[in-house]
């Protein structure tokens, strides 16, 4: 097993490498660093695009060298240069070929520091990857020998979400970290209730009822987790409430070495990641690296 890192050939980024090393340490697996370069199109005998290919290969080698220098002697890794028609397709091919524990990607360069920004490639892979996808926030830093301390599993109230928590528990146990179950709710504005005459806080009782139900189910899941072997330390279930997704997610508090685990949408029965609308919002607002797991992944 391994952790596969896709590096951007146009930009050197340490955050994705930091996350990859951290994951590989925690899971005690190999690390594969891959750079995907554009293949010749159309394949031609005249090698008219020889220089074009050379240029790409040089850029990719530069990035791979950079990765090797960041890792120094500290982290063992294999370095791959893969040709494909697009970065997205190349990473998918590698994911099938290497069957890694996780595919690690970086945020897009345009994002706000400390938050996850999905670029075209990561966005596409979030809807197509056969393996879990981990994404590092912009400017993410972690020691090369550090480990994941705690996994926070996002629980959305479905059966698939329950499986996700159990999967995350196994991983947390394997990594020697603890597990916490988190749900998030956005408190709506008061005006809707007032307009409809149902009162400014008409949504509060609904929220309270929801919180009670979630707490009941979360504690049932925690009981199940306690029966696993090996089992991780389990923290209390937490519920983040706020006026926006960002506030709701910040509400539960985050520390160093945390990883947020989100399941793919329950609407998609196929064994691929397909992030639902809530999932996308949670990932975008996560202050820590996020791991998105396909529903049917035999993971952990």
């Amino acid at each position: 097993m391994s952790v596969l890192v896709g590096v951007d050939t146009g930009r050197r980024s340490e955050s994705v490498l930091a996350l990859a090393a951290q994951l590989a340490n925690s899971l005690q697996t190999d690390l594969v660093v891959a750079a995907v370069v554009a293949s010749a199109w159309p394949p031609s005998r005249a090698s008219v695009d020889h220089e074009w290919r050379e240029h790409h290969h040089a850029a990719a080698n530069l990035v791979l060298d950079h990765a090797a220098s960041v890792f120094g002697g500290q982290v063992k890794a294999r370095y791959l240069l893969h040709e494909a028609s697009s970065a997205r397709r190349g990473l998918l091919e590698l994911a099938e070929q290497e069957a890694p524990d996780a595919l690690v990607l970086g945020s897009s360069g345009q994002g706000e520091t400390g938050r996850i920004a999905l670029g075209a490639v990561s966005e596409a892979l979030l809807h197509a990857s056969p393996v879990p996808v981990a994404i590092a926030p912009v400017g993410y830093r972690a020691g090369l020998d550090s480990r994941i301390v705690r996994l926070t599993a996002g629980y959305g109230g479905t059966e698939a979400a329950e499986d996700l928590v159990l999967g995350a528990a196994t991983v947390a146990a394997r990594a020697g970290g603890s597990l916490r179950i988190a749900s998030f709710a956005v408190r709506p504005e008061a005006e809707t209730g007032i307009l409809s005459g149902a009162g400014g806080r008409a949504e509060d009782p609904v929220l309270i009822e929801w919180v009670e139900q979630i707490r009941r189910h979360a504690s049932a899941i925690i009981d199940e987790v306690e029966e696993l072997d090996p089992r991780p330390r389990v923290d209390d279930a937490v519920i983040g409430v706020g006026g926006s997704w960002a506030a709701a997610i910040d509400d539960i508090g985050w520390g160093e070495g945390e990883l947020l685990v989100v399941g793919s949408s329950s609407l998609n029965p196929i064994a691929r990641v397909f992030l639902g609308s809530h999932g996308v919002k949670i990932v975008r607002n996560s202050p820590v690296p996020a791991l998105v797991v396909p529903r049917a992944a035999a993971w952990g």
Partner: protein, 488 residues
């Protein structure tokens, strides 16, 4: 053993401030007024003329004034009651905290009419405008069988049913109308009505006012009864009382201000409408305002513009109304007054799905098979009765709890609540006997249901959640004692 009288009169203690979400007074005068205007306009004016003019003749203008004044008076009373109880919620919650369980049930029955039935009425009105719009744009109409209630010669009002289903889907998905959408909708509504006035006035004919009040004062009052429907929503200002800045000054000003704006617009529409169209032609007219414009101009585009505006804005009204109904039933289910299924929340969508489906199904059936005039009258009587209870409750509370801290007191007490009570009674008596009979049966059914169901399952019943005598009854409203059985 608790006697029935005690059960009927027991009141829900007011929860202590949890500190979790302290209500902040953030809404100023003009936003408050905007809430009143936006919640009121557009519920009825688009289709109420064809119901009211046949009853009152051109004197329907006075019907608007009467209905508006009564609505304003009751909204003031409502504001005092809302301000006396620091709970957030609908009339039902206020009634439960101040007047007791029995009254709360009656109010709940009325609110089902004010919300579920009015949502159905609005959906039927929407269907008329959709049909008009389709006719103007594509030159054909939906077959009468699919766009009318059985009593009007159809089978089912399909567009109305579809509208309700769409709203249900949106609510289940957790969509809520944002403040911005609401503001846009209000602007569309007001713009459409101003457009109607501006275009319609070109077809002015004073002769239409010749026979001003053909059915006398009784006709005017009957018209007011139907029209009251179009003032439903003014009480929304009162539910904002808790979050209003300086409520003593701003609540009455906002209610009166919103009322003035709304009445002015409505009367403008009524006067122009009658000036442009012979009062005898209003009866049974569908998508009335749009048709009038078509006749005035002799071309279909103004009617199309108006119909399009109506279709967009009435959609949002239906959404908000169904939303309100689901949340009121949610509160009642948590109190044990209706089955718990209404208080189930789906964990993934965080919305009460079963509740929404049941409410929408009922609304869709009502909208599909019952004609609009009956729906409008039922909404009016439900709202009037709820307001009546509020006004009576205000007087009871003043007598029983004179010292109670009130965020807002009605001016000219006791004249205001008494006028409000008399106005409500007067308008109710002018409605068709069948409407009053159906309403009485409905309330009776609800009370019978309470007798066999809610009475024992109430959270206030000893042994239930809040029924423990040791639970401290919190300060603001004193509770009737459950021990000595003395009723005050």
């Amino acid at each position: 053993m608790t006697s029935i009288a005690q059960q009927l009169l027991r009141r829900k203690p007011i929860p202590r401030e949890s500190g979790d979400s302290p209500l902040r007074r953030t809404i100023g005068l003009f936003p408050l007024m905007a809430i009143g205007i936006s919640a009121t306009i557009g519920t009825g004016i688009f289709f109420i003329m064809s119901q009211a003019v046949p009853l009152a003749g051109p004197a329907v203008v006075w019907s608007f004034v009467i209905a508006g004044i009564v609505a304003g008076l009751t909204a003031l009373c409502y504001a005092e009651l809302a301000g006396a109880v620091p709970v957030s919620g609908s009339t039902y919650s206020y009634a439960f905290a101040t007047l007791g369980e029995g009254t709360a049930m009656v109010v709940g029955a009325c609110l089902l009419l004010e919300y579920a039935v009015s949502a159905a009425a609005v959906a039927v009105g929407w269907s008329q405008y959709v049909n008009e719009l389709i006719g103007n744009l594509f030159g054909w109409h939906l077959p009468a069988a699919l766009s009318n209630a059985p009593e009007e010669g159809g089978v089912v009002n399909l567009p109305a049913v579809i509208l309700v289903a769409l709203c249900a889907v949106l609510l289940i998905r957790g969509t809520r109308e944002s403040v911005l959408t609401n503001a846009i909708m209000v602007c569309i509504k007001i713009a459409v009505l101003l457009f109607f006035i501006a275009v319609g006035v070109t077809g002015w004919n004073s002769d239409h006012f010749a026979d001003f009040a053909p059915y006398g004062i009784g006709g005017i009052a009957a018209g007011a009864g139907v029209i009251f429907f179009s003032f439903v929503g003014l009480d929304a200002v009162s539910t904002a009382g808790e979050e209003a800045k300086n409520p003593r000054r701003n609540l009455p000003l906002a209610i009166i201000g919103a009322l003035l704006v709304v009445i002015t617009l409505y009367i403008g529409v009524a006067v122009v409408g009658i000036g442009a169209q012979d009062p005898k032609k209003f009866e049974n007219q569908e998508a009335g305002l749009s048709e009038i414009l078509t006749h005035v101009i002799g071309s279909s585009w103004p009617g199309t513009v108006l119909a399009a505006g109506a279709v967009i804005s009435i959609f949002s009204v239906t959404l908000v109304t169904i939303y309100g109904q689901t949340r009121i039933l949610f509160a009642m289910a948590r109190d044990g007054m209706v089955p718990k299924v209404f208080a189930k929340v789906n964990e993934r969508t965080r919305t009460p799905i079963q509740n929404t489906i049941i409410v929408s199904t009922v609304v869709a059936v009502l909208a599909g098979v019952i004609p609009i005039n009956f729906l409008a009258e039922m909404t009016s009587i439900g709202t009037l009765a709820a307001f009546l209870v509020v006004s009576v409750g205000l007087i009871i509370l003043r007598v029983r709890e004179p010292e109670l801290e009130r965020g807002f007191r009605v001016p000219l007490y006791p004249i205001t609540p008494i006028l409000s009570i008399l106005g409500c009674i007067w308008i109710i008596t002018q409605l068709r006997p069948i409407t009053i009979a159906v309403f009485a049966i409905w309330v009776a059914v609800f009370l019978v249901f309470y007798f066999f169901y809610g009475r024992r399952r109430s959270i206030l019943e000893p042994g239930n959640e809040l029924g423990d005598p040791d639970v401290p009854f919190t300060a603001v409203v004193r509770q009737p004692s459950t021990h000595d059985g003395v009723e005050r």
